[in-house]
Assembly symmetry: none
Homo-oligomer: 193 residues x 4
DNA sequence: TATGAATGAGCCTTCATTCAT
DNA sequence: GATGAATGAAGGCTCATTCAT
């Protein structure tokens, strides 16, 4: 009797939510968290401000939701890449997987890097981000140790820094950055201990 | 009639200006650009808001001035490190100089990284930052080429990314980051093509 | 074709309407008019927001309806109490009736007192409230005159103020207020001119 | 050297603050706490919104400040009225003092009555208001006991309710309420136990 | 040179109300 | 009769900036 069936509503909700999340990622990614107003996000999403608050728990809830979604996604990609192979290969696969994910989710990484230095914003994110980077470093370290690299701890710090640095430079100017060449060079370097 | 000679005035001016710049760097570094109010800077500097505007062209002018000062400073340090030596040595010196500067000007780098992903803030900085990083990359490339590294362009991208990545990780947690070990490893790696 | 007869529909309507009114009174009474959102009322009533608007003319319409219903109710109670008796008795009966009604409709009175000083809200209520209090005062005056009290106008103002004051104090802390004792004292006082 | 001397500033501050407090009392008194926007207060005060926040700690801080100022004032008036006299006289003096204060600070009482039923608003006021009314009731009780009234507790409840009720009715329509006559009647009634 | 009172645009958020996938 | 997604005006508050009873 209702003009919209529950299924209609579910679809509507999903669409709006997706529009909002996409818009938020785009704006946060481009202008940073503080540099983006909720209004701007709503406008980009083609949605009223009020509606945004039906789907998301405020501006920092939005950021949180974005991180949750993206991190789940990233974790899944890693898990997949991680499946098997000889220790030496594992490093290569992880490197390639990292950059594949970077390419796929450029904007998210931009946002992530932009937010990393802002104590205030970080607070609302809780331990999510920090725990996350620690985890990566740790995985890296294990791989390098298994592959026979000396001082894997230091080496992991280097490799992580390298991936992070390349990622940021890429994300700052994706069109001109020679990412593929850089990847090959990194892979080559970490092929043998 | 004035109790202050022109020279006194000049000194006073310089002192006040320096206090403001220091305060700004400190607050921007700690709380981020957006997270810092002009009032907070003035307070930290022990100066009235009004006076601050006598010395500096608004909040973004302050950021601009900070970048200018720091970049001049950094440039000078590099120039010094750069003075002489065999091509192979040059890379090592530049790496060491970079991290020496990082240690000296931690807060500035923190700020710089925090601001790097915000189009809006960046705009007010003009080309300064981009030109700057391009310059570094270019210098690096020259050094690596002279030292006989193959594909110096790619190699420069890697080295730069590595330095940048390490710098950020260091700045995020200076107390626990094994910077010295990392430096030695980097230097060792770039000793021979 | 319809599974509901017109009579069923009428009953449904009445039920829903009653649920809404009860919910509104409860929430308005507890949290005040401004402190209560239409959504909260709908939720308490177990009804969708949309439906609420089918039964009631907006938030202030709801308030209006509440006043209408309660005032009708109060009027009825008074009329009943008023039926007969010697003039002297009438005052006593009216006093007792007032407080009986107060006890019965505590929440309504709470709301009523909460709203009494807000020009804006009052406006939407129109003359209803003012007319109402005037009426009471007038009735009181008649009774006191008939019972032989001197200056019944002033005396009515006093008695009305007394009832109103007691009512408010009671409503602020019903559990601890010695309402019965107070009633007896009032009745005793107004037994003889 | 400054274009405004410290004394100038002090005067400026005092003026602005007074304007804001007066405006707030007026608007809160007329439209209630929730019915009044900070913007409206600023406008009435002839001041920018921003300035208001230089003097007052938010909207509820404003209410608090208003209560503090008014209650101090009221307490002083009471203390003065309370000075001496035979027990029987004391009641009379307190009644007269109450209504004198009511007349002086009509708007404040309007506000106070408007706020009394709003749990939410009250919370921000802390115990201030409740403690205050309790105190009055208690003082009243003592007076009545000393003057030889039987059941002074109940009698105090009545007298307090009477004063409160009259005050509210007066405040709702000061121009037409026969306050003086009512006062005399009250005084007469409480002259003898 | 140095002060701080004053401004007002803009931010995040709530909420009464409408209307149709 | 009944739903809830969607709207947008308005609210409290902050803050970069100006300017002088």
């Amino acid at each position: 009797m209702s003009p919209r069936s529950p299924a209609d509503n579910a679809r509507l909700r999903e669409e709006s939510r997706a529009r909002i999340m996409t818009a938020a990622l785009e704006r946060f990614g481009r202008d940073g968290y503080d540099g983006t107003s909720v209004r701007a996000i709503a406008e980009t999403a083609g949605v009223s401000v009020g509606l945004l608050y039906n789907y998301v728990d405020g501006k920092d809830g939005l950021l949180r939701a974005l991180f949750e979604a993206s991190m789940a996604d990233v974790r899944a990609s890693f898990a997949e890449a991680d499946a098997a192979g000889a220790p030496a290969e594992r490093v290569e696969r992880l490197v390639r997987a990292s950059f594949a994910i970077l390419r796929q989710r450029q904007t998210f990484w931009r946002l992530s890097y932009g937010v990393r230095m802002q104590e205030g914003v970080l607070a609302s994110l809780g331990d999510r981000v920090l725990a996350w980077t620690d985890e990566i470093r740790h995985v890296l370290e294990g791989y390098l140790r298994d592959a026979g690299f000396p001082e894997p701890e230091i080496e992991a710090a280097l490799l992580f820094a390298l991936i992070d640095g390349v990622s940021q430079h890429y994300v700052l100017d994706p069109a001109r950055y020679p990412l593929d060449d850089v990847i090959e060079r990194i892979v080559a370097r970490y092929r043998h201990p």
